[in-house]
């Protein structure tokens, strides 16, 4: 299965973000969600990529977009990684059944048992507006995300 394309309905999911909390895509209905799949906590490229996104949380907030990171690492691994890198956004554990959400989005790598490095911008109605599959060793930066956010309808405050 290939990566879900723009126009597809974003499959809902509910994944643990900490040992005692879960995050569902449906929690963010009415808000734009940026979903960043990455292969692994601690690997050098992922670290840089998540560190970069961490610096841009203010910009994401301005665009009223919620950033979520997803990998197959478990919650304790995420907690250690997130603490070490001082990340201020949720990292979700697609850990059990392993990679189930990544498979639904078409971004699971069977051969290595990790998720692809892939980005999705999901609009307030839960429709994928942009998706991007990055070469796994390349930090895709964030220019594509912001270009996609720019094309979304004006984000006025909701009544």
């Amino acid at each position: 299965m290939s990566i879900l394309a723009a126009g597809s309905v974003a499959p809902n999911f509910s994944l643990p973000s900490t040992p005692d909390q879960r995050v569902s895509l449906a929690d963010f209905r009415g808000q734009v969600v940026v979903l960043a799949f990455y292969p692994a906590d601690w690997s050098p490229v992922c670290g840089d990529q998540m560190a970069l996104y961490n610096e841009m949380l203010g910009e994401f907030r301005k665009q009223k977009a919620q950033l979520l990171g997803v990998s197959v690492d478990g919650v304790w691994c995420h907690a250690a990684f997130s603490g070490d890198r001082k990340l201020h956004f949720p990292l979700l554990a697609d850990f059990e059944p392993k990679g189930a959400v990544a498979r639904q989005y078409g971004v699971y790598r069977e051969s290595e048992g990790v998720t692809e490095r892939a980005l999705f911008v999901i609009d307030a109605e839960g429709i994928i507006r942009w998706s991007y599959l990055s070469p796994i060793g390349v930090n895709p930066g964030a220019d594509g995300i912001f270009d996609a956010l720019d094309t979304l309808p004006a984000k006025g405050s909701r009544p």
């Binding site: 840089d48 970069l52 961490n54 610096e55 910009e59 890198r85 390349v138 964030a142 220019d143 912001f146």
Partner: protein, 177 residues
């Protein structure tokens, strides 16, 4: 990947505006790779002379490098005192000599003294975050241009994806002459 916004009068630029080559660096003062790239840039500047204009834009990864943003604020303050490049070079030189983790208020004091800058006024610039907006604008422009880490270089507006050494940078620059 294209540079947005393009180089303008607001940038810190060394060299002539009508030079045929413009090298833009997005850098973080507390990043060890940027400190290592600093002498590389100077060697390239020397080799290309008047043909090259060099522009430095701020890209502090502030959560990872707590002194990166204050260092950028210090350099911006020094710019207003007419010594941007002196401060820029001195910060990277400090980082290479004492390690990037040693950057902080004491380092800035020492650098201000050695460059005969008005230290009290610089301290106020840093603590009042007077130049932070400019720094964040640099950062956001970098994100929009596809900067994904530091240092990131652009040559005449296009991202340079080679290794940050004299050979590869020179080759890419020479190809455009």
């Amino acid at each position: 990947m294209t540079l947005r916004p393009p180089v303008s009068d607001h940038d810190h630029a060394a060299g002539h505006a009508d030079a045929p080559l413009t090298l833009v660096e997005y850098g973080d003062y507390q990043c060890p790779h940027c400190a290592a790239a600093d002498p590389v840039v100077r060697a390239v500047q020397k080799a290309f002379g008047k043909e090259l204009r060099f522009v430095f834009r701020n890209f502090p990864l502030a959560e990872m490098h707590p002194a990166a943003e204050p260092a950028a604020e210090f350099a911006e303050g020094a710019a207003v005192q007419g010594k941007f490049w002196e401060a820029h070079d001195a910060i990277f030189a400090w980082s290479r000599r004492h390690g990037p983790e040693s950057l902080g208020a004491d380092a800035f004091d020492a650098i201000a003294k050695s460059l005969q800058l008005d230290g009290a006024s610089l301290e106020a610039d840093v603590s009042s975050h007077r130049y932070l907006e400019r720094i964040r604008n640099d950062f956001n422009g970098g994100v929009r241009s596809g900067v994904n880490g530091t240092p990131s270089f652009f040559i005449n507006g296009t991202r340079f994806d080679g290794a940050a050494n004299v050979e590869e940078l020179s080759e890419a620059l020479r190809a455009l002459l």
